[in-house]
């Protein structure tokens, strides 16, 4: 008999905070982490000392880690984790924090992702991102992830007949969502014609397929459900969560992600099926990855992504709401905070805090993570199903 993993019953996620994004900042990652924690304290009504667990995700925090943050911010948690997995850090932080509060190792865990963005820090990060990047990808044109995802996009287009217009639909609908998100960096509408006419960056990747690096922070609290109720905090419940690393390593080029390995278990944990999901917050470093997730998470079959996006409107009020905050493509990518963007947005959507971009009658949201291009693909995949508490 195989051992069945425990569910995530009784775990609440609450107090989504965003430290407003800036294109460039002269401040350090510590500043953004500090402001995120300050917001978490203020909006939860908890004293700083009552937050006894902390996860930190950041690239630009180096050489510090979560440990240094405790002294910098004067906190003394009894449970600490440093989760430097970029786009997957939101899902991974939530999973770890959830287990900590279930086990009683911590009462309230603050999960924070923050990065600054100096004028030259993006370039500096790319060249030293990983040993494999230093040895085997950065010396090849130094395009960063653009060139890697260009291969993945080109291969997907060839194999499944996707057109640039199909990816454009994803970007255009996300921009439409962003216009209703006060935190989004992009404030102007985007048409499909403008998407198509954008300058090439790394064929077939064009300008609006790329995220804009910026500075900022995202955070949320994880605690037991009754604690959230006692505090009177609007919260969501964790219905299921998965992660997988370095999946399908033998695929010569990425056409599917680790979500596919574990998705049945994800839906089984929540006793739900894809059709029950009210909205998705997909990790959107590039539109092709959004399309892969639609397939790998069971909304359509492999290769049907193009037809799927043609059949749906992906705006907050559309038939398949996706990235209702605008996603990273339109809200901006604040480093590791990009991995938290879907999480804070999903909490807002399910607690009635999404303003005029609210998905009507949302009860179940899917949030995904995808992180760390160490060489030719992202290695970390994860997904969480969040349910409204009512």
């Amino acid at each position: 008999m195989s051992f069945v993993r425990k569910g995530y019953e009784g775990v609440a996620v609450t107090v989504p905070v965003t430290v407003p994004y800036e294109r460039y900042s002269t401040k350090s990652a510590h500043w953004f982490i500090g402001q995120a924690l300050k917001s978490l304290v203020e909006q939860s009504g908890l004293a700083k000392d009552q937050i006894d667990g902390l996860t930190v995700s950041s690239f630009s925090l180096v050489p510090d880690t979560a440990v240094g943050v405790t002294q910098h911010l004067g906190v003394s948690p009894r449970w600490l984790d440093h989760i430097p997995t970029g786009g997957a850090s939101g899902v991974m932080s939530l999973r770890r924090a959830a287990r900590a509060v279930q086990a009683g190792d911590a009462d309230v865990v603050a999960c924070i992702a923050a990065d600054t963005n100096h004028v030259d820090s993006f370039r500096a990060t790319l060249g030293a991102f990983s040993n494999f990047a230093r040895d085997a990808s950065y010396p090849y044109g130094s395009g960063g992830p653009n060139s890697i995802f260009a291969f993945i996009t080109a291969n997907y287009m060839r194999q499944y007949g996707a057109k640039r217009e199909d990816f454009g639909r994803i970007a255009v609908d996300q921009r439409s969502n962003a216009l209703r998100n006060p935190h989004a960096m992009f404030k102007k509408p985007l048409t499909l014609d403008e998407y198509m006419a954008a300058r090439p960056i790394s064929d077939p990747i064009h300008l609006f397929d790329c995220v804009m690096p910026c500075a900022g922070a995202e955070g949320f609290l994880v605690m037991r459900e009754e604690r959230a109720r006692d505090l009177g905090l609007p919260h969501v419940l964790v219905r299921g969560a998965i992660e997988r690393h370095n999946a399908y390593a033998d695929d010569p080029v990425m056409v599917r992600g680790g979500w596919l390995v574990d998705r049945d278990e994800l839906y089984a944990q929540a006793s739900a099926k894809p059709a029950d999901v009210s909205f998705v917050q997909t990790y959107d470093d590039y539109p092709v990855i959004v399309m892969l997730q639609f397939e790998d998470l069971g909304f359509c079959a492999k290769g049907e992504g193009p037809a799927f996006v043609q059949a749906h409107r992906m705006t907050h009020d559309g038939s398949f709401p996706n990235n209702t905050s605008g996603g990273q493509l339109s809200a901006g990518q604040a480093g590791a905070a990009g991995g938290f963007l879907g999480m804070t947005e999903a909490i807002r959507q399910l607690t009635g805090a999404a303003g005029d971009r609210a998905v009507p009658d949302a009860t179940l949201g899917l949030v995904t993570g995808f992180g760390m291009v160490t060489y030719d693909r992202c290695l970390c995949t994860g997904a969480v199903l969040l349910g409204s508490s009512s």
Partner: protein, 417 residues
């Protein structure tokens, strides 16, 4: 099909000479083994000695069976191109100055997927390609996707020219035109399309065979150059130093002696004066000018070639003082390589076995013919090779030296060749 490179226009002297920005040159210690093989013109990847899995990127443990027994082994490079991208944006100044730039994702038949620089003749994916390893301008190995069947002018590919030091349309100084080797090098350079070849001669009053034939070539200009004379080197550098794209230092003094077979140090000093100090004088005068012009358009300064000897690796007692001078030159050439690297000038060291000339008269064959040596040098410049061991003797010595330098020393001491 690659369009043949046209003779570049003369440079507008008013324009600023561009400075060299090197491509990213950081590599981990393990990955430097890729460079070590590429420096000799080979494409090697780590192969697991326990499960035979081929690894890439370079790593410390087998990705399949976790064995630490990974050995660098030559690869055919056969594979399939799975995707192409053309970069229109780069975060690195070297590439930014050279956009657009094509890259490919290749799955080797041997297994791993590789990101490669793509030759212009490689068409749309999926298509068969052959991957090779070349040194880039930073002196580090990079992988290149070549067409399975190249066409006549494939060496003129823009990306490849950025990697190689092709003498075509370049201006070359050959430091000694009086030897058979020097004359063969000049002939080979002219055949390879060199624009100008300046040929040094230390003793202009001596009429040597072959010299007049050389002087009649329209590309060739004879110039007085005596490497034992600092003033002579300085004067020539003042005259042509700002124009030379490739320096080939083939001047050498070679006498067959050990320690006891000749009294005094005069001959040994003469050998050191040309073979070691000559290189030093030349490098001090021509090095800075070369470095200043390494990004000067399509035909900027690009390489420095040293004619060393395989005896530089281990002393050959019957040519003992010559071996010592070449060992000294080799050491200095490593210093030169380090100093030229920031400018992207490649230092090519050539380690021939005995050359078929008068000073190796008593040695039995096989000996390297001057023409063979010359074509090995041109090939090294074209293919971006940094260490060249031409001829069967050099190859065999190299293998023995790599296997165990102490064993080779004992064999040579006992009279073995």
């Amino acid at each position: 099909m690659t369009m043949p490179l046209m003779r570049p226009k003369r440079k507008n002297p008013v324009l600023r000479t561009r400075q060299m920005n090197l491509p990213p040159g950081a590599r981990g210690r393990v990955a430097l083994n890729l460079t070590a093989a590429a420096a000799e013109g080979r494409f090697e990847l780590q192969v697991c000695q326990d499960c035979a899995a081929v690894q890439y990127p370079p790593r410390e443990a087998c990705h399949r069976c976790l064995s630490a027994r990974l050995q660098w082994r030559a690869q055919s490079g056969e594979g399939t191109l799975l995707g192409i991208t053309t970069l229109h944006h780069s975060n690195d100044p070297f590439f930014r100055e050279r956009l657009p730039w094509r890259l490919g994702l290749v799955q080797l038949d041997a297994g791993p997927s590789l990101i490669v620089h793509l030759h212009g003749e490689v068409g749309d994916a999926p298509t068969p390609v052959r991957v090779g390893a070349r040194l880039d301008r930073a002196g580090q190995a990079v992988l290149i996707g070549f067409p399975k069947q190249g066409t006549e002018h494939m060496a003129d590919d823009k990306m490849l020219r950025e990697m190689s030091c092709d003498p075509k349309f370049r201006k070359v100084l050959v430091t000694d035109g009086k030897t058979a080797v020097g004359q063969a090098i000049v002939q080979a350079l002219v055949k390879a399309g060199a624009d100008i070849v300046w040929v040094g001669h230390a003793e202009p009053w001596k009429k040597l065979p072959g010299f007049d034939d050389l002087a009649r070539l329209p590309q060739v200009t004879m110039v007085p150059l005596d490497l034992s004379n600092a003033r002579s080197v300085t004067e020539l550098a003042g005259e042509i130093g700002g124009k030379v794209d490739i320096v080939i230092n083939n001047a050498e003094v070679h006498r067959a002696h050990g320690i006891a077979s000749r009294r005094g140090t005069d001959v040994a000093k003469a050998e050191m004066d040309i073979n070691y100090f000559g290189l030093l004088r030349l490098a001090q005068e021509f090095g800075p000018a070369l470095k200043g012009r390494s990004a000067d358009g399509e035909i900027g300064a690009t390489a420095w070639v040293n004619l060393l000897s395989v005896y530089a690796l281990s002393n050959y007692p019957s040519h003992g003082t010559f071996s010592a001078s070449k060992a000294a030159a080799h050491s200095l050439a490593q210093c030169l390589r380090a100093e030229m690297r920031p400018a992207g000038i490649r230092v090519v060291n050539v380690f021939p076995g005995p050359i078929d000339d008068e000073w190796n008269q008593n040695l039995p064959p096989p000996k390297v013919a001057p023409a063979t040596l010359a074509s090995a040098i041109v090939k090294a410049l074209r293919d971006g090779i940094e260490d060249v061991y031409p001829g069967d003797v050099a190859q065999e010595w190299l293998e023995r030296w790599r296997e165990n330098p102490k064993v080779l020393e004992r064999e040579l001491a006992a009279g073995g060749g």
